[in-house]
């Protein structure tokens, strides 16, 4: 024992640098591809850059002012918010209903649980291609079944809604699995006694289960808020932001500014604004957390 202690006190040079060797790859990569680009994005958003991305001069908030005067960008902020306001509650809400009905283990549970969680394995592009066909005005199953004659993705009033539906569907599996495991973690006696006292299914779900699993719901809402504010893929694949900018999101706008126009004077401030919106939304949910989330159990 004595010997070990002595050895520990006098670390050899190798023992000192050893932790650095293990941490170096991770921190090197994080520095180059997370911290550095993050700082670069913030700092360079205050400079004028040429189309090669070279810094020309300090311009203060001028880039922000100009991008915020761009009607298309303002529209994209509105679209993003509308998208988030509907897709987040629906994807958590529908998953909650699914988890409630699946909560009791039955003979066929493994089968329908797999069906409920299946959207999780789907990629954005494949989902987009499938739903594009389903919502096709002439060949699609949606118009055929409902008898409607709507141009869905080609109509500026419906395009964003189709994208919301696809996104909600894609998030269902992940949210369902989380909520299901939270509900299964609750004590059965509690639900049983509520049942005996004559509470109906809706009362049990809203008054008893929801408060009890609020930490999980809170985690999912936070998690999907951040993801949804960053949404761009579905717009880029399905509508390229159209028709008439009705599906342009903050990130799809940023992406186009950077790749199509090499306009870094617009792209960097967009990124900073999108990040700020995410931060504000996260802070708001944390304020709500203090009131609504119950960690006592």
């Amino acid at each position: 024992m004595q010997k070990v202690k002595v050895l520990r006190k006098k670390k050899t040079l190798f023992q000192r640098v050893e932790p650095v060797l293990y941490l170096a790859p991770a921190f090197l990569l994080l520095s180059v591809f997370t911290y550095y680009p993050f700082l670069k994005t913030i700092i360079e958003s205050f400079f004028r850059l040429n189309s090669m991305g070279e810094v020309r001069e300090f311009v203060g908030f001028e880039n922000f002012v100009s991008v915020l005067h761009n009607a298309k960008f303002i529209q994209s902020i509105g679209n993003t918010l509308k998208f988030v306001v509907f897709s987040v509650p629906f994807s958590v809400g529908v998953a909650f209903i699914l988890a409630m009905i699946a909560s009791k283990k039955r003979t066929l549970s493994p089968v329908y649980e797999t069906f409920f969680s299946l959207p999780m394995a789907m990629s954005m592009s494949v989902s987009a291609m499938i739903f594009e066909l389903m919502f096709s005005p002439t060949l699609g199953i949606v118009n055929a079944v409902t008898g409607l004659d709507i141009k869905w993705l080609n109509d500026k009033n419906t395009a964003l809604w189709v994208i919301i539906i696809i996104q909600v569907w894609m998030n269902l599996g992940y949210n369902f699995l989380f909520i299901l495991s939270a509900i299964r973690g609750l004590s059965e006696d509690l639900l049983e006694s509520a049942n005996l006292e004559g509470a109906n299914a809706v009362q049990i779900a809203v008054r008893i289960v929801m408060p009890l699993i609020s930490p999980t719901l809170f985690f999912l809402i936070c998690n999907s808020l951040a993801k949804m504010i960053m949404m761009s893929g579905l717009s880029l694949v399905l509508t390229q932001g159209g028709p008439q900018g009705s599906t342009e999101t903050m990130i799809s706008f940023m992406y186009k500014q950077a790749t199509e126009n090499s306009n870094y004077n617009a792209a960097y401030p967009c990124a900073v604004i999108a990040f700020s919106v995410t931060m504000i939304a996260t802070l708001l949910t944390f304020v709500y957390e203090k009131k609504g989330v119950n960690y006592d159990l």
Partner: protein
């Protein structure tokens, strides 16, 4: 008698309920089933429109068209290389860092750990443009390395592995040291094998995540032969009118790897999700 009737009735409602849930399940999985059926339909039936779900005549024509007219196999290979190599690298990088956080002593350990975790607050899309600049300055546009490099590290995976490593008893590690085992030997020979299950979970989720990723590979490639499947499938061009069948066939082909992995390792993936909130 009444007891028996009661049981029968309960059995009856049970069957109805389960049948109902199965229907709900099928509705949720409907887009996938729909795409599956369309992919085997004759082009004329796809074009007929209407309520048209089940193939009247099963055919492999769409699969042949998809494979013939697009470098689908090349896209698959690109995606496979990127997903496989970057997941392997990610595990090695994450396991090394997690080992240092779990077992080694060094100054400001908590601060370093917090700095590492803080990176999860920065969404990948925010740094997309700046990373694109970096990668293009390095001349890595249209290369596997350029597509993979941003997936080499994930703070969440480091966190997950650290949690898993910390369940390993420190006294066992000390016993190994007294037997003359170096840190590196302990890491490779003892720690990694005993955590094989967590490493597997990290690998599978990383693989599915990278296989399914879209925006970054789109940004750093512009040559057709370097596209990944997820990018390629959105850019397939077939002669107008017969486009949907082959696209659904291509979607099915692309879906198989991630779907198989997901169904095979569902339990592991879910356990991993709960442990660290795995993102793609």
């Amino acid at each position: 008698m009444t007891y028996n009737k009661d049981r029968l009735r309960r059995g009856g409602t049970e069957i109805v309920i389960q049948g109902l849930y199965l229907m709900v399940g099928l509705m949720i999985a409907f887009p996938i089933i729909y795409a599956f059926f369309i992919s085997f339909m004759e082009p004329s039936q796809v074009l007929a429109g209407g309520i048209n779900v089940f193939p009247k005549k099963w055919t492999l024509e769409n699969y042949q068209t998809a494979l013939r007219s697009a470098p689908l196999m090349r896209f698959m290979w690109n995606s496979f290389v990127i997903a496989f190599i970057s997941s392997i690298v990610r595990i090695i990088v994450a396991a090394m860092a997690a080992f240092a956080f779990a077992f080694l002593d060094f100054p400001c350990k908590n601060l370093v750990f917090m700095v590492m975790l803080a990176s999860t607050m920065i969404p990948a899309d925010i740094v997309l443009v700046a990373n694109y600049r970096t990668v293009s300055q390095l001349g890595w546009i249209n290369t596997y390395l350029g597509m993979m490099i941003v997936f080499f590290v994930s703070a969440l995976n480091i966190f997950m592995l650290r949690q898993s490593f910390m369940t390993f008893s420190v006294s066992l590690k000390e016993a190994a040291h007294i037997d003359g085992c170096s840190n590196f030997k302990f890491f490779v020979r003892i720690l990694l094998p005993t955590n094989a299950s967590t490493l597997m979970t990290v690998f599978i989720t990383a693989f599915i995540g990278t296989w399914n990723t879209y925006l970054w590979p789109l940004m750093v490639t512009n040559r057709t032969e370097m596209r990944t499947v997820q990018v390629g499938v959105t850019m397939l061009n077939f002669s107008e009118g017969t486009v949907h069948g082959p696209i659904m066939a291509a979607s099915m082909i692309i879906l198989v790897p991630s779907l198989l992995l997901f169904l095979t390792f569902q339990k592991k993936i879910v356990a991993g999700m709960m442990a660290g909130g795995v993102k793609g």
